[in-house]
Assembly symmetry: C2
Homo-oligomer: 240 residues x 2
């Protein structure tokens, strides 16, 4: 039986303010919990409503009822496992490879998909503007799966960061030059903008190369979603 | 004031069965409604709760209250405009260019994103297996925006369709050959599989070239989401 204070703590982690206060976040689902357990993330507590065993140190796993799990969960149909972990330790920013920078990406599903894409393409650093959605938001984590453990995400003043950067800065714009002809270098920063507004004027002024994904269909088509555009541009960064 | 039978009709269109029975579907939001109005789609009725005018023939636009609109809508916060349209007329399948085939894509958001991507890349034909989510599903339409008007979508027995096809058939597999080395032809069929299971065994046997998107990160990474994988592969199809 779960102590009331624990239940209250976990529920509070649905909010960014309390996640930051405690330095904790949670993920749901056995598969993701297992992936984080074998990563460099430090588990705080694993709550299980079913009989499945976890091979982790004593005291970490706690049996709870389905009703208790439901009270902690953000999901309508919570899976049988919820894992609470400490925030990743801050790492140095690695300027020896491409990195991604996000200028106010607000949709949790988009950020989650983008983290997963970075993991796929071996991009280990994401720099987020302070108004980008929190990477420990439960909806972000649902979309990232275990990738959160393998990508380093830094929240900072993006404008200051780019001003100090000494590697080339590329940005995705509707009217940029075709990425197919961009002759992308070995390392650089790729900036992606907000869902509705794109890259802000302030950040735009710091970008050395404006690139775009050529459009082949009817020109009335909306811009691509930021996650799908990121998929295409990261593929362009990595392909020969 | 809306007649009760009309309200009942629109509400019923949230279900595939009734959409097929009436040959009607609806979209929400002024921008999408306007995009469909200038397309080849035939409007049945436009419901507006606000004072904005639509330049369409008399009798098509009907003023309703916000409460009535809310009763018709699928959304928590319905926009002020809902448009009901007739299904697109069936067109001939165009074998002179690339087309996309979907083997049981079930998530409405994924199908919506894929339709929008096809529109972007000028892929005008999508062949869907019978178990692929219905393209007139309101959640699909939310993600496609106006693209539904510009892409022709056919539901058919995918296995029979591929058996009869005379252009090359490519399929996305985790262990396929790198798409970067695939030397893609001028025309072909790109098959994408179900979210959980990928391409089925039956369909897999009809595929001549198995391709994949190279993975650069940690090899424990999950596969890419079907919509982001489609984004990358359609980009590969269209780039020089």
């Amino acid at each position: 039986m779960l102590v009331k204070s624990q239940l209250k703590l976990i529920r509070s982690l649905q909010q960014k303010k309390y996640r930051n206060q405690h330095g904790l976040f949670f993920v749901e689902g056995k598969k993701t919990v297992e992936e984080l357990l074998v990563s460099n993330l430090e588990p705080y507590k694993i709550y299980c409503s079913d009989a499945e065993a976890f091979e982790v140190s004593e005291g970490i796993v706690e049996r709870v009822t389905s009703a208790e799990l439901k009270q902690m969960s953000c999901l309508k149909n919570p899976p049988g496992v919820l894992g609470v972990f400490s925030f990743k330790k801050k790492s140095e920013i690695d300027f020896s490879d491409w990195m991604l920078a996000l200028d106010d990406v607000r949709d949790p599903g988009n950020l989650g998909t983008i983290i997963r894409l970075c993991d796929w393409f071996g991009i280990t650093t994401i720099i987020c503007s302070k108004n980008t959605v929190d990477c420990y938001n439960p909806k972000v984590l649902q979309a990232t799966m275990g990738s959160i453990a393998r990508v380093n995400i830094h929240y900072t003043d993006l404008s200051n960061f780019l001003q100090d950067a000494t590697i080339p800065i590329y940005g995705a714009f509707m009217n940029g030059a075709s990425v197919y002809k961009a002759n992308l270098p070995e390392k650089g920063i790729l900036v992606m903008g907000n869902e509705g507004k794109g890259i802000s004027k302030e950040i735009g002024e710091l970008i050395s190369q404006e690139i775009s994904i050529p459009q082949f269909g009817n020109k009335t088509t909306e811009s691509l979603n930021v996650a799908t555009a990121t998929a295409i541009l990261l593929n362009e960064v990595r392909r020969d």
